[in-house]
Symmetry: C3
Subunit: 274 residues, 3 copies
């Protein structure tokens, strides 16, 4: 069981230590990711050149790799940065955006998890399934699948990839293969903001930079991010994705221990019943 | 004549089908474009690598090409994607940002319309003029030109390029060379938001993905986008470009059949009088 | 002494002339930079391809170079553009983002100031120090340093690089080595918005495009930007970085001669006392 106060303590640590989070991410979400990381209390840095990514990754608290607009050059930089991070015990967080959508993405995602030691991989069910080699339809996957299927997928991915798997959708699941948590925080407006998932991956990176138990760090990130989204949805008059995006940044900045205490919907999954 | 209810039906179809719109666009507007497409109800994807653009374009409902921050690699990817789209009957929408500003842009724009079958080209008058080979000054062109000149330019561009030409400015014009519409919806604050034109091009793509009559699709996109801009301008206290940008996203999400019925200023141009 | 009415006159000139500002900047801040330049009244253009940057720089009112997400290709483009700007008397404004963070950034920053004639260089104290070859810690530098140290650094950088040095932080300093100004406008929320410094650099570019006295132009930009930030902070209910970002754009658009008259905290530094 992860208590709300443990989550709040992790957030407090993040805000105090302001970890440097090195992102090699896609061109769609760079600005939103940087602003979201600043709002939660981290220090974002984006660096992509093969000439410097090893140097940057080594001084970072976490390295976040995101293949949303991958190309040959970026993938090369990701592998260089990832190896430097691995060497210097900097956790690598991986977001396999669109794995399954094209062969190039699927192959690249598999290459990254094979060549690097990845601490956490975060994606929707289709993306995670495609990384582990399951043939899962890439579109509309979240709606049709049962909670049990998703938990089984997370456990399988964690074991097969020797990582922590985070699957997000209506419910969010985090598993290292033996311990599994489910988080029911969040708001459907997150699906109307581009990069909401990408930012979450970077927020997981920020928590992993300050909390060595990366299952706890990932679960805390899911709860904090989901609660901030709920607060953001409450803060706007009616369902408005533009305003929601701004309010999400505001609430990542404002979210308090009290909010977490009152609103956390993070629960441990009993593996005996699986 | 395109009735408001026809426009509303096209929008409804877009929101129901949620077409995948593949964008190869400039680095300035990627985030805003993706959020605008999500708001109107489409599914945006950005993919740029030559290794995957043919695969992505082929499964998309429309392909949008935008040369706002073109380089050798992007242009190569655009041509690969465009040929794949042409082969699989996916409509290609082209935004020749800055054609006329530098020789490289002008030549690239002409290369794209020559090598690809483009369903719709959208730009301001100077950009469209430069694509068709007219020597039109690139800056401040909108204010000085008469409605008649702009209609003549649209008709000429449509015929010469064998496409649908959309010229936007104070008034928006769409023509396939034989049928021409003029749309008076919109708000001057659109000129204070970077990428407002680029997003419109992608919205045209979203409509073309669900409506095979691409003149109707383009005209509907102009009206819907212009009305959303008017609603956005009403939604803010005084002329504020930052807030307007957010309200535009909100109103692309909220715009209703009733709004279209009440506010559409789309009219057919009588070619006999030209 | 620079009077508030002189600052207001420079802003009025900017809004009237709408100078074209050519940016070769990082992928994190492109959208925010373009919107900020539009809001203040300039015409932003982003162009990165080596095939066109010389053509674009030559017709611009200012060229802004920013190494925030530098790579080999961008740096090559920056040098081509910079040489064209130098040849055509277009002022070059340089933002050495992250100089000192990695050897590649430091070396590139030094290469740029060596190979180009730079009118203004703008960075935080650590960045400026690293460009001039001082070994200054890159993180958390602003808080620990005295006003006197920062002024001395600005004067040294200006003399050594034969440029105007702008150091920003809690206080902003501009110096050409003989004349030095300090500006106390601004708000701490600027540190919570990614690209707030990058946009300031581009705003300095916009002022330099219309005002040949580049010390005056830089000082005016600092005051206008800082006052807009203060107005933005007043415009939001409580400290909220998402809303602040939007309000900053709104207030760059709205800031008036009266605001400048009432709020300017720009002062000349007496060099005799240094």
């Amino acid at each position: 069981m992860i208590e709300p106060k443990t989550i709040a303590a992790a957030l407090e640590k993040l805000r105090t230590e302001k970890p440097l989070v090195h992102n090699i991410t896609n061109v769609v979400v760079t600005n939103f990711t940087a602003n979201g990381l600043l709002a939660i209390g981290a220090s974002p840095v984006m660096a992509y050149a093969k000439e410097e990514v090893a140097d940057m990754a080594k001084i970072a608290g976490a390295l976040v790799l995101n293949i949303g607009t991958l190309n040959e050059e970026n993938v090369e930089a990701m592998l260089i940065a990832g190896k430097s991070a691995n060497k210097h015990n900097v956790p690598v967080i991986f977001d396999p955006v669109g794995a399954g959508a094209t062969p190039y993405r699927t192959e690249t995602a598999r290459k990254i998890v094979k060549e690097l030691s990845v601490a956490v991989v975060r994606g929707n069910a289709a993306e995670i399934a495609n990384v582990v080699g399951e043939n899962w339809a890439i579109r509309g996957v979240d709606s049709g699948d049962s909670e049990g299927d998703l938990i089984a997928l997370a456990v399988k991915a964690a074991k097969q990839l020797n990582t922590i798997a985070v699957i997000t959708g209506e419910q969010d699941i985090v598993s290292d293969g033996s311990k599994t948590y489910i988080c029911n925080n969040g708001d459907s407006l997150l699906t109307k903001v581009t990069g909401a998932g990408c930012l979450l991956t970077s927020v997981i990176g920020a928590f992993c930079a300050v909390e060595k138990d990366h299952v706890l760090a990932s679960a805390a990130a899911l709860a904090v991010y989901g609660i901030a989204a709920e607060l953001a949805a409450k803060g706007i008059e009616y369902e408005s994705p533009g305003s929601f995006q701004i309010e999400l940044l505001n609430n990542l900045y404002h979210i308090s221990a009290e909010d977490i205490q009152k609103m956390s919907l993070l629960e441990e999954v009993n593996h005996v019943n699986l």
